[in-house]
Symmetry: C2
Subunit: 208 residues, 2 copies
């Protein structure tokens, strides 16, 4: 029997078409982001939103629109546009009264995480988040092992800046990250790890 | 020389036709956003960012990319794409440890603010922000009077839902909003109004 997977982005993928044990989107795309992790996080955020637990969204990719055509009265078709470099991380929002901000990256490497997947503007942004009292982290997936880690932004930035090599050993993530459980709903329960790491003893939104 | 301005709603306006001293973008476009208010807010946010006071960004407009050409190796040119409806407000970020979320709208009307400028998804989003303990508001500009108001999201949503008319009287904003001072740096010091309205007695980021 073939069932389809309906992703929030409108793509429908035939389940049978995907070879077992492989995910079609695990390759790093041009911006170094694996699309399957992004889909898992979007689905998790939709779930958190639906149950009223948190409000966290992926920011749209910034695009510079140069030319728009109007094939019909109410229909705008962009016919010339370019990708722009973002100045922030991809995800932010609110959870239990706290500002949440993170970047997600995926690699198929087995032994280490390539540093080039994280960009300078993301590091600078997360440094500022920490200074201003927000909760900032990275979600890093080693897709070969099907392992997804939550790492505090300050921890990863520290090793990032101290490491002269082009990549950070997989072992470092095992020692410094929180392994995120994957499931059905939510697909990745990363807010449970946020509770554990940042909000121990916290009960509920406290401000205002 | 005449250059044209292409608006996303299909209007093309000859630049030369715009009288000097007036901003060509103050008209309400199809999404109800005046571009000059947006520019003022972006400049203010850049300033707040530069001095380390806050980290607040306008989210990029969500665009569905359908087709990309590669005229050269490292150069991606989007040749078919469409505007998508956002599911959130335009601005969010962190200030003094608090999650900040708002929508900005501009009207040239003198007597009232047209309700159609605020969309259902923005109302739903800001209701959730308030529930989760964030600071949510609207920034509304009456450009004819050069008045810019900060209004608590719950206040505006209440009158919005109680008002059967198609617009909310200007007088209501005078009675319920905080008038934002315009200056050089920042152009609109809306975080001062946030201090006044939400953070009285607050000193500095307190969490974590």
């Amino acid at each position: 029997m073939t069932s389809n997977i309906h992703y929030p982005n409108g793509k429908t993928i035939k389940k049978a078409a995907i070879p077992k044990g492989r995910h079609e989107n695990t390759i790093d795309n041009h911006s170094g982001r694996g699309a399957r992790l992004e889909e898992d996080l979007n689905a998790s955020n939709t779930y958190y939103n639906d149950i009223g637990a948190a409000l966290i969204h992926k920011k749209p990719t910034p695009i510079q629109v140069v030319r728009v055509d109007y094939p019909s009265r109410d229909h705008a078709k962009i016919v010339e546009a370019y990708y722009r470099t973002p100045s922030t991380t991809d995800y932010n929002g609110i959870y239990k009264g706290h500002y949440i901000d993170f970047e997600a990256k995926e690699t198929r490497n087995r032994s280490s995480f390539p540093k080039y997947l994280i960009h300078e503007h993301q590091i600078e942004h997360l440094k500022k988040v920490a200074k201003l009292g927000g909760i900032g982290f990275f979600i890093i997936r080693f897709s070969h092992f099907n392992e997804t880690w939550l790492i505090d932004s300050s921890d990863l930035i520290r090793v990032f800046e101290q490491t002269k090599a082009a990549s950070i050993p997989h072992q470092w993530f095992c020692e410094n990250g929180l392994l995120l459980k994957e499931g059905f709903m939510p697909r990745i329960n990363y807010l449970k790890a946020v509770d554990e790491k940042y909000l121990k003893g916290d009960t509920i939104a406290k401000d205002n």
